[in-house]
């Protein structure tokens, strides 16, 4: 007991009394407060996110249904201005991030209101139409029903081909679910249909949500506040590990269309309108499409461009995690003193090295910011690439 209470002070008290947290504040030239250096914190968070290095399959062609709870509980104002609005904002950011990281995937939206669920948008590959539909009308009433949502989505997801990964992400604000029948049956159906359900709760941990996620292999997390909610939501953007029984390896036919020249006039097959210049021609049936990635309306071929594939490829072969380098007191001439990525000095206070990392393959040193950037956005180590 005495270890817990240090001189009768709690941990938060110690932060003020002993560590003098106010001294971390600094002013810059114009007298404004400088933001507190949270680099080490952010870096620690990022390291926690790195998965083990074992190679596992990931579902790259994902068909995800995002379920938004618009029941009475979504009008609670514990998230400013209300849960519903906060969820919608984060969902918009999530959709953009999702298409960034998974260009070959599709997203659809479903809402739960008044005890029934309603499909807002069909499953599709363009983020703009989804976001527009989401921001259209946001009003909440009635109860939430998990079973109706799962049943509806099960009906739609059963039609997609077997090489696609079927996922559901439920953003649940209510504390209960009012179902017309036995939800356990629905859960069994979803499991059989290989649908992976994940839930992010906004109020409290609910047993039935946990059960759904456990049974279908998804993840259940509960958000503490708005920023935590956004973090949890964005964690679902990179492709999840594929579950052994659900993964089916197939050969998928894809087309790589050429971009049309500037002077070409053609009637595009998606808008039924004459377009001048630009556009892509399907290599099989020569129909014109406006944007990639998409499915050709005439012959059904999946049309992608090579950067889209490359973006998906990075998830399978991530950059090896860098090793942390403990602070070296002695300044040795052979070691570089600047970060290889951004050329910022690694030497801070006097002769001490600031915490930094080094790549195990090329032995170059990088600062913490570059470390996060390389692993999460760039997906290539500059040191290794410059050596080849």
């Amino acid at each position: 007991e005495e270890e817990e209470e240090d001189d009768g002070m709690e941990a938060w008290e110690r932060a003020y009394a002993d560590e003098r947290s106010w001294e971390n504040l600094q002013e810059d030239e114009s007298g404004l407060l400088r933001p507190i250096d949270t680099k080490t914190l952010v870096h620690a968070q990022y390291r926690r996110r790195l998965l083990a290095a074992s190679r596992i399959q990931k579902g790259l062609i994902r068909y995800l249904y995002l379920v938004i709870d618009l029941s009475r509980a979504a009008s609670e104002t514990d998230y400013r201005p209300s849960r519903m609005v906060a969820v919608a904002k984060c969902a918009e950011a999530f959709i953009r991030e999702f298409f960034d990281q998974n260009p070959l995937s599709h997203v659809g939206l479903v809402t739960i209101k008044d005890g029934i669920s309603h499909r807002l948008t069909e499953i599709g590959g363009s983020p703009e139409s989804q976001i527009k539909a989401l921001m259209g009308k946001l009003e909440c009433s009635g109860d939430a029903s998990l079973q109706n949502a799962l049943e509806l989505i099960h009906g739609y997801l059963s039609q997609i081909p077997s090489y696609g990964h079927r996922e559901v992400l439920i953003l649940y604000s209510a504390l209960n679910t009012c179902d017309p029948g036995d939800i356990m049956e629905t859960i069994k159906k979803c499991k059989k249909a290989k649908i992976r359900c994940s839930v992010i709760g906004l109020s409290a941990e609910i047993f039935i949500c946990k059960h759904v996620c456990e049974e279908t292999g998804g993840s259940y997390t509960v958000a503490l506040d708005e920023s935590h909610f956004k973090e949890l939501l964005l964690e679902h953007a990179p492709p999840p590990p594929a579950i052994a029984e659900y993964a089916a390896a197939n050969l998928i036919k894809m087309g790589f269309p050429q971009r049309g020249a500037e002077g070409v006039i053609a009637i595009c097959s998606c808008h039924k309108d004459v377009k001048i210049g630009g556009g892509y021609t399907c290599p099989r049936c020569k129909a014109r499409v406006c944007e990639l990635p998409t499915e050709c309306r005439i012959c059904g071929l999946t049309l992608v461009s090579s950067p889209h594939l490359a973006r998906s490829y990075h998830h399978l072969f991530p950059v090896t995690p860098f090793n942390e380098v403990s602070s070296v007191f002695k300044l040795s001439q052979k070691l570089a003193q600047t970060c290889f990525g951004c050329q910022q000095s690694l030497v801070s206070i006097g002769t001490k090295f600031a915490p930094h990392v080094s790549c195990p393959k090329c032995n170059q040193r990088f600062c913490l910011d570059c470390d996060i950037y390389i692993h999460e956005s760039l997906h290539n180590c500059p040191g290794c690439e410059s050596q080849r």
């Binding site: 399959q57 029948g181 579950i243 993964a247 009637i267 049936c285 020569k286 005439i298 059904g300 399978l316």
Partner: protein, 602 residues
């Protein structure tokens, strides 16, 4: 579309050879005239007598169309056609006419015209026909397309509509199939609204509330079935019920007892619910052994002073003197919860209270018949086995992940390189490896020499001649900017708007039909049945026709020739691609099945 004439054979049964003749169908009547003028088999039948039509599947031995009179007896007029296209044309015509008549008939006497489908026959329900006709009426483009393709015998009705399922499928119907569960709010605990000025207390009951009351209080349900409409009207029943509720709420047990003594029906509402009591007794015998009552005791603070759950802000008192039932809040909440968790048993619309009550009674009977002790035992055992493992002590059992086994991609690229080199190497006589690496010293010297040379002589060996480069650049710029210059001045105007209306419509129509044809064409590959093969042949002939038409348009001399040809070019390209694919597939097949004369797989 007013009449259709076709050569056909009339027969009364499928097995008959049939009498050859001519079948003529008009808007309200159809007539059959046999070829042999001596034959007595002339027919003239009003379509009103025909209740339905059946036909054999495309690709079966006979192209039959059966116009049935009586759905039960199955008798009718059977016509055999020479080929399926004829039969399909007649069938579609008949379908339309029948749809028209049936729509009229159903409005008059609400007769459901449901045709029992036999094994090899395709039926169209009247609603389907109506929806299709409505869609055709509303969308003139669709109608034009439909006319061209279906009546031109290029596509059949079913094929045409198969791609348009999303138009026909009523999305709303799918949503309304969802049922809602009981609301978690306790609606059965109805609250009256009081009018401050007068002494009136108003209770409002919606069908949802009534449904919940019936589910939660079986005694009230039974009373309703017994009293209404024999002893009192529904309104009286609910008035008495609300009065009983009000008496409960006021906690005035003496007044309640007095009223109960007066009015025996009211007394029913004030007594304990005996059906519930009976159920509870039964349930106690089958209590779940895994239920942990010990943990509950420690949490029970409701008996302490100043604690407890208050109903409507007033503490509950128990009055044991009178027989008036007192339901604690806990009892009500538990009863409501158990009803909600059972789920909604009724599927019908909540409207008439009487029907709701009866349906509920029926479903209760069924469910009580189902329950057997054996089931309960099995459930209990399963529950026990599930609860014996302590969740917190278990490791998280997530489903195992799939291992990634991709060969090193560099191997693939290296092997490709080797292949490429081999291909090159076969043409070039051998290849010597040249060592191109220089050390820094040599590289520096080389660069110095080059630079000094350039300084002396200037760059006189450019990759591209400057005059040629200039010509190409100016030519390209002109080409790129010309179309945009001509057409981009007015952003609202598009290329099509500049063309005369007739040409524009023609081109658009051709374009829509090409889209449709190509879609069907590409979806027919790979060809696995002869039906698909025939379909592809039909499509190909239609495509050739359009190809010729487009070529003709392109060759017409007009002011806009250039634009038109630019527009038509991609369409021709698409058609060319389809033809090329067809030819390639044909060659593949003929190579595979050299012996077969036709070359398609049955």
């Amino acid at each position: 579309m007013a009449a259709i004439t076709m050569a056909a054979k009339y027969k009364t049964t499928v097995k008959e050879p049939g009498i050859p003749g001519v079948l003529k169908m008009m808007d309200d009547v159809f007539a059959f005239t046999p070829n042999d003028p001596r034959s007595a088999m002339k027919l003239k039948v009003d379509f009103r007598n025909i209740k339905g039509h059946k036909f054999s599947k495309d690709g079966s031995k006979q192209a039959l169309l059966n116009l049935t009179q009586d759905p039960e007896k199955g008798g009718g007029y059977i016509f055999e056609f020479n080929n399926f296209t004829d039969r399909n044309a007649c069938r579609d015509f008949v379908g339309k006419v029948l749809g028209k008549f049936q729509a009229l008939a159903s409005k008059q006497n609400d007769q459901p015209v449901s045709e029992k489908s036999t094994v090899s026959v395709e039926q169209l329900s009247t609603t389907e026909m109506e929806r299709r006709m409505k869609l055709l009426r509303e969308d003139s483009e669709l109608q034009k397309l439909h006319k061209e393709l279906v009546f031109g015998n290029i596509l059949t009705e079913s094929e045409f509509w198969a791609t348009r399922k999303n138009l026909l499928d009523d999305d709303y119907a799918r949503i309304s199939k969802q049922r809602t569960g009981f609301k978690s709010a306790m609606l059965a605990d109805i609250r009256p609204s009081t009018d401050g000025r007068t002494n009136k207390v108003t209770f409002s009951l919606t069908p949802e509330i009534i449904h919940q009351i019936f589910s939660e209080k079986p005694a009230v349900h039974r009373a309703f079935l017994n009293f209404v409409p024999s002893k009192m009207t529904e309104k009286d029943f609910w008035t008495k019920y609300c009065r009983a509720e009000y008496l409960h709420r006021t906690n005035n047990s003496v007044a309640a007892a007095a009223e109960a003594a007066e009015d025996e029906e009211l007394a029913v509402f004030l007594k304990h619910d005996d059906i519930l009591a009976e159920e509870a007794r039964r349930k106690i015998r089958r209590v779940d052994p895994t239920l942990d009552m010990e943990a509950d005791l420690g949490d029970d603070y409701t008996h302490l002073p100043d604690h407890g759950i208050l109903r409507d802000g007033s503490k509950e008192t128990t009055d044991a003197e009178n027989d008036i039932a007192r339901r604690t809040l806990a009892q009500d909440v538990n009863r409501h919860a158990s009803v909600v968790l059972e789920g909604r048993a009724l599927d019908i619309e909540l409207g008439d209270t009487r029907t709701v009550a009866e349906a509920l009674a029926r479903s209760k009977q069924e469910s009580s018949a189902d329950k057997s002790d054996e089931n309960a035992n099995l459930e209990r055992q399963e529950r026990v086995s599930r609860m014996t493992e302590i969740e917190d002590l278990q490791a998280t059992h997530s489903l195992p992940y799939a291992e990634l086994c991709i060969k090193d991609p560099r191997e693939y690229f290296d092997s490709q390189q080797v292949n490429a080199l081999k291909a090159l190497g076969s043409t070039v006589a051998g290849s010597r490896t040249i060592d191109h690496s220089l050390n820094t010293e040599e590289a520096y010297v080389y660069l110095l020499n080059e630079i000094s040379e350039v300084k002396l002589q200037g760059l006189h060996n450019p990759i591209v001649q400057s005059e040629a480069a200039l010509k190409v650049l100016s030519g390209l710029t002109q080409q790129i900017s010309s179309t945009r210059y001509n057409l981009g001045k007015n952003p609202q105007e598009s290329v099509l708007d500049r063309l005369p209306k007739r040409t524009k419509d023609e081109i658009m129509l051709h374009w829509t039909s090409i889209q449709e044809l190509l879609r069907h064409f590409w979806s027919s590959y790979p060809i696995t049945t002869s039906y698909l093969y025939n379909k592809v042949l039909r499509l190909k002939s239609a495509m050739t026709d359009i190809y010729q038409k487009l070529k003709a348009i392109k060759d017409v001399q007009s002011d806009f020739r250039h634009q038109i040809s630019l527009l038509i070019q991609p369409m021709l390209q698409a058609l060319d691609a389809a033809f090329a694919h067809y030819d390639a597939e044909e060659n593949k097949h003929s190579k595979k099945n050299g012996a077969k004369p036709n070359g398609f797989v049955q």
